[in-house]
Point group: C2
Chain length 478, copies 2
């Protein structure tokens, strides 16, 4: 007799083999470094926010008592290290609730007693899935959406995610029609829909959801008596108009119009503060039963009290928060401008965006043909020849091939400059190849692709960071 | 149409309503404090290790670079805060593996590449359950066992725990016969047994499992081709002979006799170092597939990198570790001696133990009758009248009524003294009541119980901490 493992352990539910995660591996095996490995892979596939750490480190130096590992704070070490109440430190809950309010312009109130901890947004999403749906049930999710959702919400819970198909022709807007279509399709397949998951601002789009769409989505879920989960983990990354509207605002403006038991918010400090290592995930539900149940489940992924203690101090400092939020947004805006302008110089457009740590780059016209196979081929070229890890749209369940997510806040200015230069060279070459492809056929192009690296090496020498090459072949797109 | 939540959210799988957790609530609403609330409830239901924090705090003061929140360490803040690789910081994995070896007298080796993080032992147990068994499958667990196992292993996974009944007549020893009986019973009920869970040292028994029993258990699981999970979270709390033997030793002594794919260890720093707030849980499996799968699942409960960084420094300091382990054991031994001697003075015995943060107190002769109802009644008296929270055997799935777990390492010497005094008074009174009960019948005793508080108030005044009362009614038990 042979021993066995579980179905979960032996199925492919984690999804680690998708191109989204594969790109990370390519980076890991050959990471770019300005001096040690200048020809290495530049990681533009990681939605990290590294632009404002100087502000954080300055604060840390000024506030030694915020840590239990300083002479000033060590007297609290024991009390903090032994604290294991799953409600969390009261000062942590208060500080997080206040911070969430400030990020939303103080237009809404959050009750600290409803703040539930989880192991990052990853844990928060899974916890809500366990609370709201049984194995086999489904949540609707507008496309494109973050590939990690599949792992977070479905792997161990057995629930399904069903796409609400959004298209580039409308700027990937979520329409009532698309929601109804997805809902009806599930009903026709006898699948019980338990909720709708929105990501606002959107990863990968980098856009905020407008007030009207939020209201329509809430009306939709309320009418169907299904749950609305709003993943707002990028709320403080909004750097341009229109500003951010939280589902909390829509609800509080007309509290009697909606069933509060159906509204749940996911939050985290991984993106807004840039602390993914600290694993601070938050569930904020207006439903008492869900709040209580999620809190019990939080035992599987509590935030370290060492970290709770630090975050409580940091986010209770109004002066720091009031400086950090706008300064971080300002820096993101600048970086976004540099990247999108750099892309536009070689005619690469991206979805107009106002938030997030990435832009949604449109390479549709560089595809040999409008298929996901061609997208994958282009992506492999970008990784292998251009040595930039961007993420193709397919793992994001995008309905159209040719879109790529490009992260811009996990590197310094110099790396961005190098990346833009590489993209410039690449586009020039692919344009030329594509023209030849159209003239001569597939086989030769395939061979040419293999020699791309050599060709690029030559042309790189000619380029200068201050005079990006332009070509009559390319034109600006939006 | 009404909205619904999941079955998990609405069933009673968390088990929070058991007497085990109820006692914590009683403490929370009226906590003892030597000056502010001297008549409050003393918490002896919490397996915390608070006896050696002076050593830790001294180390912290001497090692400011170990923290990212000091002037000496803040330059690492950014790199640590953004680190989110689920493999964990390499220095953390190395330090934990070395620490686990030292706790086991350097008799075994642990591969740092097999160290998998989880949110405490709570997360580790659930992760292993998800990896090893499907919903409906079962794990065998010798009784009595930690009540949290029901929540950790079964609540969200849907698996079952089946008792391997161990009895006081053999010192709660795990026998091959008991294992076979439990296994057969499951087979007769068509339940698929996927493994055996051992807790060594045992919570609540405070005893280590001897080498022969470990070998027999491993032989049993190996023969049945089922998994053996060894929960060794109390391994560094062993304070007396016989010492601790890890399942790793049994396996390494005869590696060819056993299938390594069936052996898994759960570890944590919550008990051995006393840092439950830091949520450091570890899975160490000899099975590659389980290691890889558990690591992917660790995304739901990673250890904060702030904490990984601190622990890496602390546990890499050989001098500190070599001082901490024996000193902590020495202090636990002393506290154990004070408590068990204090209990013996009024004739209360406890299972002979050599480890853990608790003893397994035998109050069988204080029960009105040998039922779990009588145990619950006695427990309520202890909470309400004696104002000590101890944990009755029923939530530990003990097969005999009358056993209680008493934690002794989560308080200072003075609180222990007060607790022992209260127990002395209580035993005297209950002895008297029981005699009356035997003579006169149940009704009157029930009334007397209500007046216990008043009676105690009187007798408390007469007692002195240095002259514990003795009585011809009581005699020492072991």
């Amino acid at each position: 007799m042979e021993y066995t493992l579980s179905k979960i352990a032996t199925n492919d539910g984690h999804g680690e083999n998708s191109a989204f995660f594969d790109g990370w591996k390519a980076y890991d095996s050959d990471p770019y470094h300005p001096t040690k490995n200048p020809n290495g892979v530049i990681q533009m596939g990681l939605a990290e926010n590294q632009l404002s750490f100087d502000l954080v480190q300055e604060w840390v130096k000024k506030n030694p008592k915020a840590s239990i590992c300083t002479n000033e704070g060590v007297d609290d070490f024991k009390e903090i290290a032994i604290f294991q109440d799953y409600h969390g430190l009261p000062e942590f809950r208060n500080a997080v609730a206040r911070f969430m309010e400030r990020v939303r312009g103080n237009r809404v109130r959050f009750d600290p007693n409803r703040i539930v901890m989880s192991g990052g947004a990853t844990g928060a999403q899974e916890t809500l899935a366990f609370c709201l749906a049984d194995s086999g049930d489904a949540l609707l999710v507008p496309t494109p959406y973050y590939p990690g959702n599949d792992r977070d919400l479905t792997w161990r819970t057995g629930i399904q995610l069903l796409p609400v198909v959004c298209e580039s022709s409308t700027g990937f807007k979520i329409t009532r029609e698309a929601l109804e279509t997805a809902y009806k399709k599930a009903q026709d397949s006898n699948i019980k829909v338990k909720g709708l998951l929105l990501n606002n601002p959107s990863n990968p789009l980098g856009t905020t959801i407008d007030k009207q769409t939020l209201t329509e989505s809430l009306t939709f879920t309320n009418e169907k008596q299904i749950h609305l989960i709003c993943d707002e983990i990028y709320s403080a990354t909004v750097f341009d108009q229109p500003g951010f509207t939280s589902i909390a605002e829509i609800f509080e403006e007309n509290p009697k119009s909606y069933n509060p038991n159906l509204i749940h918010i996911v939050y985290s400090l991984s993106k807004d503060l840039g602390f993914p290592g600290f694993r601070v995930g938050i569930i904020y539900s207006y439903n008492d039963t869900v709040t209580n149940c999620a809190r019990k489940m939080s035992s599987f992924g509590l935030v370290s009290t060492q970290t709770q203690h630090l975050i409580a101090s940091m986010l209770s400092d109004d002066e720091f928060v009031d400086r950090f939020i706008p300064e971080s947004a300002k820096r993101l805006a600048k970086r976004h401008e540099i990247l999108t302008r750099g892309l536009a110089q070689v005619g690469i457009g991206s979805l107009k965006s106002n938030a997030g740590l990435f832009c949604w780059m449109d390479l549709r016209r560089l595809l040999k043909e409008a298929t996901f196979e061609a997208e994958a081929e282009l992506w492999r070229m970008i990784i292998e020849d251009v040595k930039i890890n961007v993420s193709p749209g397919a793992p994001f369940h995008c309905s159209e091939p040719g879109w790529f997510r490009v992260c811009f806040a996990n590197m310094d200015d110099e790396a961005v400059r190098v990346a833009i230069n590489r993209i410039h060279e690449f586009v020039m070459i692919v344009q030329t190849k594509k023209q030849r492809y159209i003239r001569r056929g597939k086989l030769e192009v395939s061979l040419s692709f293999r020699r791309l690296d050599e060709i690029m090496m030559g042309s790189m020498k000619m380029s200068s960071p201050h005079s990006p090459m332009s070509s009559p072949l390319v034109r600006a797109m939006t």
